[in-house]
């Protein structure tokens, strides 16, 4: 079965529907699937629930999907740096479910690994644990968190091959491997699509079994906080 597509639009063909849940890789603007986000914007699909650590910035990343009110709910750990997000949230047009960053990562990992729930000490005694099952193990209290699956996962890698094997670059890896496992269908965009056999087999982060569709795209890689020292 051929996994390779020419661009984001064709790679998403037949996958999008109103009310769907999407898991999106990236941390801030680092390692985000820029082309897929743009294409989801152009599709006009609505009422989305998006699991992503952040919600992009005004006019870039997932912030693009807010412009036409396509997002119903975000599952995120941090949503600063986004005025439009705050406007829609305060107007009641956008719901937010805060997850601690590690809990969000583990929910996606568990979801993709066939684990429906797990216990963690993170958030015990806080708002996050309200209404959730608590359980004591060895004298310490833990809260039950659920595995998280998505109808679609959109991820961005550095290099990928025609079998969907992916290698990420530096901190652009972040949530991408977890998202890739959590999607019923996973679409990957890569900076460089290489023939099968060209990747170092011992350096593949996401094995191709998790990736159904792949394409090569151009990436702006916008920097959120440009900080430097004197040369």
């Amino acid at each position: 079965m051929k996994k390779v597509y020419s661009a984001a639009k064709s790679a998403l063909d037949g996958l999008l529907f109103d009310g769907m849940t999407i898991a999106a890789g990236g941390f801030g603007l680092c390692g985000i699937p820029e082309n897929l986000i743009q294409s989801i914007k152009e599709s006009g699909v609505k009422n989305l629930t998006i699991a992503s650590n952040n919600a992009g910035v005004d006019g870039f990343g997932l912030g693009l999907l807010l412009q036409d009110m396509q997002v119903k709910k975000m599952i995120s750990s941090y949503v600063g740096e986004n005025d439009l997000f705050m406007q829609q949230y305060l107007a009641g047009d956008l719901e937010i479910e805060f997850n601690p960053q590690g809990t969000l990562a583990e929910r996606l990992r568990a979801g993709g690994a066939g684990i429906p729930g797990f216990y963690t000490a993170t958030g015990v005694g806080t708002k996050i644990a309200e209404g959730k099952e608590l359980k004591e193990f060895d004298g310490k209290t833990y809260v039950l968190e659920r595995g998280l699956k998505a109808d679609l996962a959109i991820v961005k890698a550095w290099k990928g091959d025609e079998q969907g094997n992916l290698t990420y670059r530096k901190t652009a890896m972040n949530f991408n491997p977890e998202c890739a496992t959590a999607g019923t269908v996973t679409v990957a965009e890569v900076e460089e699509l290489v023939p099968v056999g060209a990747l170092d087999k011992m350096s593949i982060h996401t094995p191709g079994v998790y990736v159904q569709r792949i394409f090569e795209g151009k990436h702006e890689k916008r920097i959120e906080q440009r900080t430097t020292r004197a040369a």
């Binding site: 941390f27 801030g28 603007l29 680092c30 390692g31 650590n53 995120s76 750990s77 941090y78 949503v79 600063g80 705050m86 305060l90 805060f98 601690p100 960053q101 590690g102 809990t103 969000l104 990562a105 583990e106 996606l108 990992r109 963690t120 000490a121 993170t122 958030g123 015990v124 005694g125 806080t126 708002k127 996050i128 550095w158 990420y168 670059r169 530096k170 901190t171 652009a172 890896m173 972040n174 949530f175 991408n176 491997p177 977890e178 982060h205 890689k221 916008r222 920097i223 959120e224 906080q225 440009r226 900080t227 430097t228 020292r229 004197a230 040369a231």
Partner: protein
């Protein structure tokens, strides 16, 4: 004289031990990296997926694929490793990181920490703070002793929603260093020229001797 931001960071650097893996929060805690003793082997963890974080890059070194948890551009070191978010929080939640130094809005005498939301104000989220305080071996807070209105930030009970319950080990304020112990805060050290009377006056939490 109470300590200023840099002096608080310098004092916090004394919490480091040779060989430690450390996660530093955003703000004053970041300044601690300026005071790491030269003969110490310290590895900084950045929870977005990096162990062995280097300095900010020069203009030529900037790499958009290389940022820290504050989304700032950084550099790598010889020892650096990169990993995914679940791996990053496995090492945090699993107790493999020795020390986290972070800022706070309030700390209670039982070690509760509040630093992620103020009801009625815009809430941006907790990021990785709840995971860090729940999982890292030792939690040291750096914060001003009182808020801008002069009210104590060391309280009997936190008024703000918690980040973690009973998680703080030590607090470094502009007035001194305090440990959370049975019954309240135990004074470890006073900043120069700060008196115990001043500490009592500016502290709501119980202070035990």
């Amino acid at each position: 004289m109470p300590w200023d931001r840099n002096q608080m960071a310098e004092r916090a650097a004394l919490e480091l031990e040779d060989g430690f893996y450390v996660n530093l929060g955003i703000g004053i805690p970041t300044l601690v990296s300026n005071y790491v003793p030269e003969d110490y082997d310290i590895t900084l963890q950045s929870e977005n997926g990096m162990l062995g974080m280097g300095a900010f890059p020069t203009e030529e070194e900037i790499d958009p694929d290389l940022i820290n948890a504050g989304k700032q551009t950084v550099t790598e070191l010889e020892r650096t490793s990169y990993f995914s978010s679940s791996q990053s929080f496995a090492m945090i939640r699993g107790g493999h990181i020795n020390l986290s130094i972070l800022g706070a809005m309030e700390v209670s005498e039982t070690g509760d920490l509040a630093n992620w939301m103020i009801p009625g104000r815009l809430v941006k989220g907790m990021g990785g703070a709840m995971d860090l305080v729940a999982g890292v071996q030792r939690i040291v807070v750096i914060m001003d002793h009182a808020n801008k209105a002069g009210e104590s930030k060391l309280l009997k009970k936190c008024s703000l929603p918690l980040t973690g319950q009973g998680v703080v080990d030590r607090v470094i304020t502009n007035l001194g260093v305090f440990d959370i112990v049975e019954g309240g805060l135990r004074l470890v050290e006073l900043a120069p020229e700060v008196t115990m009377d001043e500490v009592h006056e500016k502290t709501e939490a119980a202070i035990v001797i």
